[in-house]
């Protein structure tokens, strides 16, 4: 800069003679739209609209003399290289009166500083001689000072929350503080010109429904170098939501500054934060606060952080929690005032012995939040349904079966639902006491896992056997449900009849009897058929038995059938009539499988009568002995008495037997026998051994077969004599 000044001073000295005179031409400088007349040595400002832009000064020199004006060379510049001359072909020039030359000086702004240069142009005027004299040539130097400038616009803003003025550049987002709905917040915008030329604000626009410009002066407006321009942007949220907008500032015609706007409409000045699943999330008033999962008996805790995100103090006057299991520990003292930016924590807790999902409500001042918590685990819920409807039943509660007739069944569907949030392992489903009256059906294979929110349906079947009250206990793991029911009387038993043997019977028979209902009965029956023996002589023959043993046999009659099936698997059962004159009365008893007695008060019976009869000889042997023989007879007398025995032996030809027929009275002997206890185990049966001796000859030395060709024997009692039994004589 110093060198340029020295050079300029030297040039001035050379052209001093002309410079001391007014220049013979007018100088018009046009910068932008303004044209002004300047004099020699004048200063011409060249304001560029911005750095990197150009300012152009167009100079028109118009000769005002009467001679000729010549410019032998192009103008020269001394000073900043940001200046250049556009001679536009005007040089060298020689012009006459009124004629002009035009050229331009360009300023290309490279900084916001003011730069200067000096424009020098030599000229010569040939003045015509006055009075015939000679022409006079006057030389001179036109020297103009050029000053190049450029504006430098900076944008700043200030928010009411801090009132700090912060710079912002084009493209950078201006974030407004959270703003209550139905309220406003205004950001003060400042356009500062820190350059060397005035900045011209030609247009300021805003976009975004929730944003408006406020306090905006009339545009266009110039911002002088070092000056500033101020306006405001108002954010007016209409809803709790995020808003965006855009501010556009146009400077001159070439520069546009764009600033995105971001804001959030909130319902509170307080910001609520909680750490959930490792992330800190903001919870809006009215929103849900999820307390960490826990298990029954283990408290869960969540700290709710409250931050005053507003620009003024916020006061929390009330703090309350509702909902089973929810609470606040170490509640802060109220009222609690939070200055802007300050925060506090509200420790929320949840604890419950029950499993499931729980909700509550937290109130902070006028703002409320939904509280949510989960106690992890399984929880079984029970409900049942039948034809009468459905109902729930609590563990320990009672399900009453609908009354149903004996022999019929009623069912209740028991639904086991896992109302918890984890699978429920079920290891046992059983009645406390095994029962044929109450059955649990559709039990899954155990152990069984009942998924959360899943259900299991069991059928509970009640099959009453009596009209008495029945109670049972159903255990599903540790849960107990009482089951009660009562049966009603079944239909009356149809008529029934005996089949097979009837009426008069004889000794030593094995008879078949059957039992049949006159019509099918809808209920499965069990029963017994019992023989009552009424003997004539007070001795009950123990041989009177069913084939299954004893005097009673069990039977069943399947539902909707008629025939009794006895314990031998047949519809007939055999019995022995014995060998004692008796009346056998067979009496049935019918019960349901549950034991309800259906036997008529005077049931039909089967009477088998064994009348007193003459004895019968079943077997006889005659065997020789020393000096005689022994007659052995096996038979029975159902009167349990014997009278005369008649033995007839037919001698062989030539054998003289004095008494081939002999009659023995067995009354006393048999009377003694049949009065013994031992005889009673045989009924009327007997086995008689009678020894005989020979006398009056030597028959003892001979075999019976040698003596007798045949023989027979009969035995009598009070009824009559038996058939003759042929003796096997060998």
């Amino acid at each position: 800069m110093r060198t340029s000044r020295n050079l300029l001073l030297a040039l001035a000295c050379l052209v001093l003679p002309a410079a001391l005179h007014a220049q013979p031409f007018q100088i018009a400088a046009t910068v932008g739209d303004n044209t002004t007349a300047v004099s020699n040595l004048a200063v011409i400002p060249l304001p560029a609209p911005g750095v990197g832009a150009e300012a152009v000064a167009t100079l028109r020199l118009t000769y005002t003399g009467s001679g000729r004006l010549s410019f032998p060379g192009v103008p020269t510049l001394l000073g900043s290289s940001s200046f250049t001359i556009d001679p536009r072909g005007a040089f060298p020039a020689n012009i006459g009166f009124g004629q002009s030359i035009v050229f331009a000086v360009n300023y290309n702004a490279q900084s916001t500083d003011a730069l200067s240069a000096q424009l020098n142009l030599l000229y010569s005027e040939i003045q015509p001689a006055t009075g015939g004299g000679t022409t006079v040539t006057v030389s001179g130097l036109m020297s103009l000072s050029l000053v190049g400038t450029a504006p430098s616009v900076t944008i700043g803003y200030a928010l009411p929350t801090t009132l700090n003025t912060l710079p912002i550049v084009s493209g950078e987002t201006l974030n407004f503080p959270p703003t209550l709905t139905q309220s406003t917040v205004t950001a003060t915008m400042l356009v500062v010109n820190q350059g060397s030329a005035a900045a011209r604000l030609s247009q300021i626009q805003i976009a975004g429904a929730d944003f408006t410009l406020v306090n905006l002066p009339l545009l266009p407006a110039n911002v002088a170098a070092g000056g500033s321009f101020q306006f405001g942007i108002r954010f007016s949220p209409k809803a709790v939501a995020s808003s965006t907008g855009q501010l556009t500032i146009r400077i001159g015609t070439a520069t546009t500054i764009t600033i995105p706007l971001a804001a959030e409409g909130v319902s509170s000045l307080l910001r609520y934060e909680a750490t959930q699943n490792g992330d800190t999330v903001v919870i809006q008033p009215g929103g849900r606060i999820q307390i960490p999962d826990t298990r029954p008996g283990t408290p869960a805790r969540l700290d709710l952080r409250v931050v005053n995100s507003g620009s003024v103090d916020a006061t929390i006057s009330t703090l309350s929690v509702t909902g089973t299991g929810f609470g606040i520990v170490e509640s802060p003292l109220l009222p609690l005032t939070l200055s802007p930016g300050a925060s506090t924590s509200i420790p929320l807790t949840f604890a419950s012995a029950d499993v499931g999902s729980f909700t509550g409500r937290l109130r902070v001042g006028t703002e409320t939040f939904e509280l949510a918590a989960r106690n992890l685990g399984a929880r079984l819920e029970f409900s049942y349904s039948n034809s009468a409807g459905s109902a729930t039943v609590q563990p320990g509660g009672t399900i009453a079966f609908p009354t149903v007739a004996i022999g019929s069944t009623s069912e209740v569907q028991l639904t086991v639902r896992n109302a918890g949030n984890q699978a429920a392992p079920i290891a046992a489903i059983a009645l406390q006491e095994p029962s044929s009256i109450v059955q649990v059906l559709d039990i899954p294979a155990l152990p069984f896992s009942l998924a959360a929110d899943a259900s299991l349906t069991l059928r509970l079947r009640f099959s009453p056997g009596t009209t008495s009250f029945t109670s049972q206990v159903l255990r599903i793991d540790s849960s107990v449900i009482n089951l009660t029911g009562q049966g009603s009387a079944p239909p009356a038993l149809p008529e029934f009849r005996f089949e097979g043997a009837s009426g008069a019977v004889t000794p030593l028979q094995q008879l078949q009897v059957g039992l049949t209902l006159a019509a099918p009965y809808p209920v499965a029956l069990t029963g017994t058929l019992t023989i009552a023996v009424n003997p004539g002589d007070f001795t009950v023959d123990p041989a009177v038995q069913f084939s299954s043993g004893g005097l009673t046999v069990n039977f069943t009659i399947a539902a909707n059938s008629t025939q009794a099936i006895f314990s031998n698997g047949s519809n007939r059962i055999r019995l022995q009539t014995g060998t004692v004159a008796s009346t056998l009365t067979l009496t049935p008893r019918f019960t349901t499988t549950g034991g309800f007695d259906l036997t008529p008060s005077n049931p039909t019976t089967l009477v088998l009568t064994q009348a007193p009869a003459a004895p019968r000889i079943l077997a006889a042997t005659i065997s020789g002995t020393a000096g005689g023989f022994t007659l052995t007879l096996v038979g029975y007398s159902n009167t349990r008495a014997l009278g005369d025995m008649n033995l007839t032996l037919t001698p062989r030809s030539g054998v003289d037997v004095a008494n081939p027929q002999i009659r023995l009275n067995l009354t006393n002997n048999s009377g003694i026998w049949y009065r013994t206890a031992a005889s009673q185990t045989f009924g009327g049966q007997f086995q008689i051994q009678i020894p005989f001796t020979f006398s009056g000859g030597t028959a003892a030395n001979n075999t019976l077969a040698a003596l007798f060709q045949s023989g027979s024997v009969t035995i009598a009692n009070t009824v009559g004599a038996s058939a003759a039994f042929e003796l096997p004589i060998q």
Binding site: G654, F686, Q689
Partner: protein
């Protein structure tokens, strides 16, 4: 002494009722109640009897022969023979393997043949007076004894198999003799009368009556059975009919084939018999089945083909 002299000496003979008349109750025999592991007396005559008190208990196996004169039992790894089961039982340990089982009983029950299933050895056991005696019987030659019958008079008939062939042997008077004219027979069974036996000729399924007379075996072919030989067969008295065991789909039954005409019918039973076994006499065949405690015993009466039961229920 001539018969004329003998008759002369008997002139004016008379017989008199002597003192000592005894009246008691008849016992039909002794049965092994396997579920109760006991031998129990049959009180009363067949058809009106019931199983009474136990004669012996805690037996692993037992069987009594006709009239219960002789029986066998296994207890604690020892085979016993027992006599007097209807009066005073007399037990005698036998030096025989416990696998030995009765192969045949004499009709009067005084004699039995035991077959050792392990080695096929035959042991004859009999009552002599009141003593139990035994002897081993060895049939000449090779072969596996399939069946045998004992007839009164210490006579036995054996059927043997040797590969595809067989032979029949008569044991009489302590001697074995091969029976000519008979090779392979099956279903050797004692007749209801007890004095003869029946068998089927295997190749022709011809029913053969076997009778021993004067130490010789007499055979008479009665009838050829159509449809082959049944697995189990007994013959009704007087050979009026035969009975075979048949297991039908709907239960167990006898099939009775009469020898006169084409009479053939089925006798349904309450139980599923597995085989015929000896009864209290040759008249009866025990129908062995998977009997449970308290269930009756069933018998086939070979005199008329009826089945009779003996209750063995809890009341006894």
């Amino acid at each position: 002494m001539s018969w004329r002299l003998k008759f002369a000496l008997l002139l004016a003979t008379q017989f008199c009722w002597a003192a000592g008349t005894e009246i008691a109750g008849p016992l039909s025999g002794v049965l092994f109640d396997a579920p109760a592991k006991s031998l129990r007396r049959v009180v009363g005559v067949m058809g009106n009897a019931y199983v009474g008190a136990a004669v012996a208990t805690e037996l692993d196996w037992a069987q009594a022969g006709p009239q219960a004169r002789l029986g066998f039992a296994v207890r604690e790894g020892q085979l016993f023979a027992v006599s007097g089961l209807l009066t005073e039982p007399h037990w005698q340990a036998l030096s025989l393997p416990i696998e030995s089982r009765p192969l045949a009983w004499s009709p009067d029950g005084s004699e039995a043949l035991l077959l050792n299933s392990a080695d096929g050895a035959i042991e004859r056991v009999w009552l002599a007076e009141s003593e139990i005696r035994t002897e081993a019987l060895t049939i000449p030659g090779d072969g596996k004894v399939l069946a045998a019958v004992l007839l009164n008079g210490h006579v036995a008939i054996f059927s043997r198999q040797n590969g595809e062939t067989g032979d029949v042997w008569l044991w009489s008077a302590g001697q074995f003799s091969a029976v000519p004219g008979l090779s392979r027979i099956t279903n050797l069974t004692l007749a209801a009368e007890g004095d003869h036996a029946y068998a089927l000729e295997a190749e022709t399924s011809t029913l053969v009556k076997l009778r021993v007379s004067a130490g010789q075996l007499e055979t008479s072919r009665l009838r050829t059975l159509e449809g082959g030989a049944p697995a189990q067969l007994v013959v009704e008295a007087n050979a009026r009919a035969i009975y075979s065991l048949k297991t039908a789909v709907d239960g167990a039954a006898f099939e009775r084939w009469a020898f006169e005409g084409d009479e053939h019918f089925r006798v349904d039973l309450e139980v599923l018999p597995e085989r015929f076994a000896s009864g209290p006499s040759s008249r009866y065949r025990l129908l062995e089945y998977a009997r449970k405690a308290g269930e009756p015993f069933y018998f086939l009466d070979l005199t008329d083909g009826s089945t009779i039961f003996i209750p063995a229920g809890a009341n006894q």
